[in-house]
Amino acid sequence: MSGLSVAGVSHAYDGNKVVREVSFSVAPGELACLLGPSGCGKTTLLRLAAGLEPLQQGTITIDGTVVADPARGTQVPPEGRGVGLMFQDYALFPHLTIMENIAFGIPKASPERMAAIQDAIAQMGMAAYQDAYPHTLSGGQQQRVALLRALAPEPRILLLDEPFSGLDVNLRTQIREETLSVLKRSGVATLMVTHDPQEALSMADRILVMNRGKIEQLGTPREIYQFPATEYVARFVGDTNILPGIVLESSYDEVMTSIGPVPCLSMRGLDFGTDAFISIRPESFELDPKGPFQAQIRSITYGGQYVSLEVELLGEIGRGQRLRIHTNPNSRIDVDEHIRFRVIPDFVTVIEDPAPNGGP
Amino acid sequence: MRKILLLSALVLVLAYGLAGKAFAAGEVNLYSYRQPFLIKPLLDEFSKQTGIKVNVVFANKGMLEKIRATPGAADAILTSDIGSLHDMDQARLLLPVRSRVLESNIPAIYRHPGGHWFGLTLRGRVLFVSKARLKPGAVTTYEDLADPKMKGRVCIRSGKHVYNVSLIASIIAHKGEAAAKKWLQGVKANLARKPGGNDRAQAKAIYAGQCDVGVANTYYMGKMATNAKKPAQKKWAASIQLIFPNQHGRGTHVNISGAAVTRHARNRDNAVRLIEFLSGDYAQKLYAAQNFEYPVKPGVPVHPLVKSWGNFKADTIDLATVAKYRTAASKLVDQVDFNNFRPSN
């Protein structure tokens, strides 16, 4: 198959296992995102794919060719893999001009190819800087050069290591969009590493959430956000409320929880009567004077796009339980006020048992 | 990168490998402990007379190891004292040579009985005495240097220098280690300054008034007294009386400069011819005239200046015996802490 395919990969540094039995693949034109906190092994996976780290266990295939398989002694060096890699610090060559940096990977480029690259440079607004040296550029400009450089040799797969972490927040959105359009145009299979859920959700076609060297969940941004499979994923990709409960009849689409019955879209096929936990995103609550839940507001945080409330339940079931609720920023409410609300099922899901010490 | 490295290595091998071929006929390869500027006129004359080219490298240490590591590289050795000849002989690196010429030119006491090495010139280890501050006859023996009356008046180079080590070894050979140690302690007690400099520097110190008596090899006197380029040295020489010590006893300690053929020499005959030449009339005269040394060959005249110092009685003890005691002598210097003298005032 074409694109990047990683199967059964494990890796250890000095006896410290950082990647455990990881398998996934990225198709051409797809942008897959490895999401996780620092130290979860995502950068190691990237370096393994690039060939910068010798593979210890598993196989890595690029466009149908096995490039690393320690069991058969295959270790294609990075220069033979046809991968593009963009580093977090960009790693621009300080002794070369922008043009020399970009053309570094294509020493014998045809005139047409060079013209295409010139075009790409111009499209990114970098034409004026061709003969400048990297240290004279701003962070955003350096990022563009690094991307152009990685793409210039037309790699089969592109690896991006935290490509936007060095940028100002204002600039980040713009550059993300810019990058995305460049990637889509090139049709390359892209694997991006990030610790920023927002970035992963907004850019990726598919997200691989990693925890302690393992892939915890794999899915589209929507799946990951709406239906996190574990408490770890639920908490890492945004705010959530985790409650214990019991699965009711599947036809009911409801879970009985410590705060009473809650509508739920995803039962994960659990049988009636199974003990479970559910994750309710703060967006899944709606203020409703006729809603079944009554609570008192304990604190209010203004967040711009929404207002985040911490409330304490007043009803008979689950009295004292605290919940996080996001509401419309226009709602005029104050601390200690009593409110009523209901749960809409869009952002409610049954998750696997929370790990004893999991979650942020 | 790699190509450049390989290429430069190749070029080196070719360029210098060819330049280094020194094994053609008509050559002799010489390791010399004596400075090239001292021996060059002799070697030039040898080449002129015989057509044999002399390749020479001068070094004052490490030659024994070099001969051992690359046997056959050198054919002959030229040394400036008995010690290095003896060490090489002990290491079985020398070739026994039988030559009528050498045996008739060199008296038996100045060559190895089995022909392992041959002395070429003699130098006495004598006393330089201040004419102004010491009466004639005040110092006449090595033993006088240790006499308490000389306190603060003696200058000498490092006790570890080969010339001094040989002198001390000769005292051990004659009088035993205990006596030699006592003598060395006595000399140390009489020093005017920390041992150091070369033999010439002792003369300079006497002239400047730092001390009154020094120990030096004979030829230095000749070189200073005739030094046209450095008139100051003539003054140093003029302020000094040269005394041959122990004339009423065992005689003045003499050392040789000598030569030998190496065991694995490739140009043996040429090497023997070179040594024969160096022991012959022409070379012996030149040694005497230019370097103020005493020729080993009987009948060859010494330099008039050297002659003016008078005849002297040389210590006739077997030089190999003296050389044998060099290790003991060197250890004695450590034991009495000779070089570590500090003036008491």
Partner: protein, 568 residues
């Protein structure tokens, strides 16, 4: 249970992880390291044979004095070079005062002065019979040494002074590079926190520059440890004079090799301590924000002091000895010129240039190979191979001859078998031997520099180049080499200048009829007739001046943000 099994699997995996692959780089580094280390191993092997009671003699007599004197020498030279080197480096880098531009490079000049020559010159001037004491006696009517006190030049203090004067440039050089590389921001932070320039220097700039200064200092200490010319001339009993004494006067090669091995162990400890002390210092240049250095403008009074502080080491370490040498050379130029003087100059230049180029190429190759393999064993072997700097020259020369002689005999047998012609002593009979010796001795300079400057290139540069399709060799050539070019040039200059001065190994290892400037000077100097060869000594010094100025210019460009502009 399962965790134990998993742990076991992990440790197994990690044991296999270094994945020692014998590619051209690893194999090349291993081969070169073994070649370069062979002489050191030969010395150690020599030390393994018995040495008939040498140690009991040394223990009961001079050993502790050797240790005490050597320790004193190293401490004295260390303190002296630190004071002069760091002090002047800070002055010319951070302060603005008249003449600073000249001092920048002039402070490096004493590097070209061989220690044995400066010792000779100062002895001539300062001894009892010399002009200074003569004038004093004339002026005050003293006659003997008992009438007055004057420091004895032929003493430990004298040796410390002589070596300090010619060795401080190592510390100056590295301290200056370190100060130039520092971001001004850290100093400014310190100033805003209420610390004056002086306290900022001691609490921020100096600790930051420490790793570099320590590297310079360790070079100085190794030089002081293995110096023979000066200490022998002054009759000071150090470990090195002891080695020669045991070897030549007590005729015990194994005893000498044992002493040398002990000294080597001491150096290994020293280096280990140094590595340990800078274990945390693995930072790369990432910031691109470098402002011009502040340049404290000094008041006329302080400026005058600064000028004096910079001028003194130049005058004493360079101008005075060069002046005296010129005087000698003027009077005795015939003796020098009459010989094949220009041939000697050519020999010296050829040897030093070849060695400098080879040392830098090999040092870079090894440092890069170690970086590629990331193998601790390979790194250790390479570091061992660069220990030659710490072994006294003549001992190392003996170590060089042993493997070289063996190789020669093998080659000879081979060519005789193959073509029926013996090649002669292809290696030990040619300048290959000297070049090899120089490499063994000076690899510490080039390997150390290459390793240090490569460590400043972030590994992401390697990654970027490799993923852009370049193999390791091309990556080295197109990325690393341009980035570390300045430092390599500096290392090359150091090896070149050291090669011009090198004497002991040249004497022993050179082929027949091969005279360099240093050996030419030596044949007279060994007879205390330096005057006759002063022109040669002057030529050694002169040939170092131009490279030193180039060196100084290349250091200026080491300041980040400045070097990046080169190469359009």
């Amino acid at each position: 249970m399962s965790t134990i099994a998993e742990n076991l699997k992990t440790t197994m995996a990690s044991r296999f992880r270094p994945a020692f692959r014998l590619d051209i780089w690893t194999g090349g580094v291993l081969l070169i390291a073994i070649l370069i280390a062979a002489p050191i191993i030969a010395v150690i092997a020599l030390a393994l044979s018995p040495s008939e009671g040498i140690w009991s003699h040394l223990l009961s007599t001079v050993l502790f004095r050797y240790i005490r004197t050597t320790w004193g020498l190293m401490m004295g030279v260390g303190a002296g070079t630190l004071l002069i080197g760091v002090g002047t480096a800070w002055l010319v880098t951070m302060c603005r005062f008249p003449g600073r531009g000249v001092f920048e490079w002039a402070l490096l000049l004493p590097l070209a002065m061989p220690a044995y020559i400066i010792a000779y010159v100062y002895t001539d001037i300062l001894e009892f019979a010399g002009p200074v004491q003569g004038l004093l006696r004339g002026a005050f009517g003293w006659t003997t040494g008992r009438d007055y006190w004057f420091p004895e030049i032929r003493s430990l203090g004298g040796a410390i002074a002589m070596m300090t004067l010619v060795l401080y440039p190592y510390v100056y050089l590295l301290a200056r590079v370190a100060f130039l590389e520092q971001s001004v921001c850290v100093t400014e932070v310190s100033r805003t926190l209420g610390r004056g320039p002086w306290r900022s220097f001691f609490t921020v700039a100096l600790p930051l520059a420490r790793p570099a200064i320590v590297v310079g200092l360790s070079l100085v200490l190794m030089e002081a440890l293995n110096d023979f010319g000066t200490v022998d001339f002054f009759a000071i009993e150090t470990f090195t004079t002891g080695i020669y004494d045991v070897w030549l006067n007590m005729n015990s090669r194994s005893g000498a090799a044992q002493l040398a091995t002990v000294a080597l162990l001491f150096v290994v400890l020293l280096i280990a301590a140094e590595r340990w002390a800078r274990r945390g210092q693995r930072y790369f240049h990432t910031t691109t924000k470098f402002k011009p250095l502040p340049g404290y403008r000094l008041s006329p009074g302080t400026g005058a002091l600064a000028i004096a502080a910079c001028l003194l080491p130049i005058v004493l370490g360079f101008l005075v000895p060069t002046g005296v040498l010129s005087l000698y050379a003027w009077n005795f130029y015939e003796e020098s010129l009459s010989a094949n003087f220009f041939l000697f100059v050519r020999h010296s230049l050829t040897l030093s240039a070849i060695s400098a180029v080879l040392a830098v190429a090999i040092g870079l190759f090894m440092a890069y190979g170690v970086r590629l393999s990331r193998n601790a064993g390979l790194r250790a072997i390479s570091q061992f191979a660069s220990l030659g700097y710490a072994v006294p020259g003549a001992v190392l020369a003996v170590g060089v001859m042993i493997p070289m002689g063996k190789l020669d005999l093998g080659l000879q047998t081979l060519t005789r078998e193959l073509w029926g012609v013996p090649t002669g002593l292809l290696l030990s009979g040619t300048i290959m031997a000297v070049t090899y010796g120089y490499l063994v001795r000076f690899l510490a300079l080039s390997y150390g520099t290459a390793e240090a400057s490569l460590s400043k290139v972030t590994p992401n540069m390697d990654g970027a180049a490799r993923t852009l399709g370049l193999g390791p060799g091309k990556t080295l050539w197109r990325v690393h080499f341009p980035l570390v070019r300045g430092s390599l040039l500096a290392a090359g200059v150091l090896v070149f200048v050291d090669g011009m001065k090198e004497l002991t190994m040249t004497i022993i290892l050179r082929p027949f009829n091969y005279e360099t400037l240093a050996t030419f000077v030596h044949q007279f100097a060994s007879n205390e007739q330096l005057e006759e060869s002063a022109l040669g000594a002057l030529a050694i010094v002169a040939s170092g001046i131009l490279p030193i100025i180039i060196l100084s210019a290349s250091i200026r460009n080491t300041r980040p943000g400045q070097s990046a502009r080169q190469g359009t």
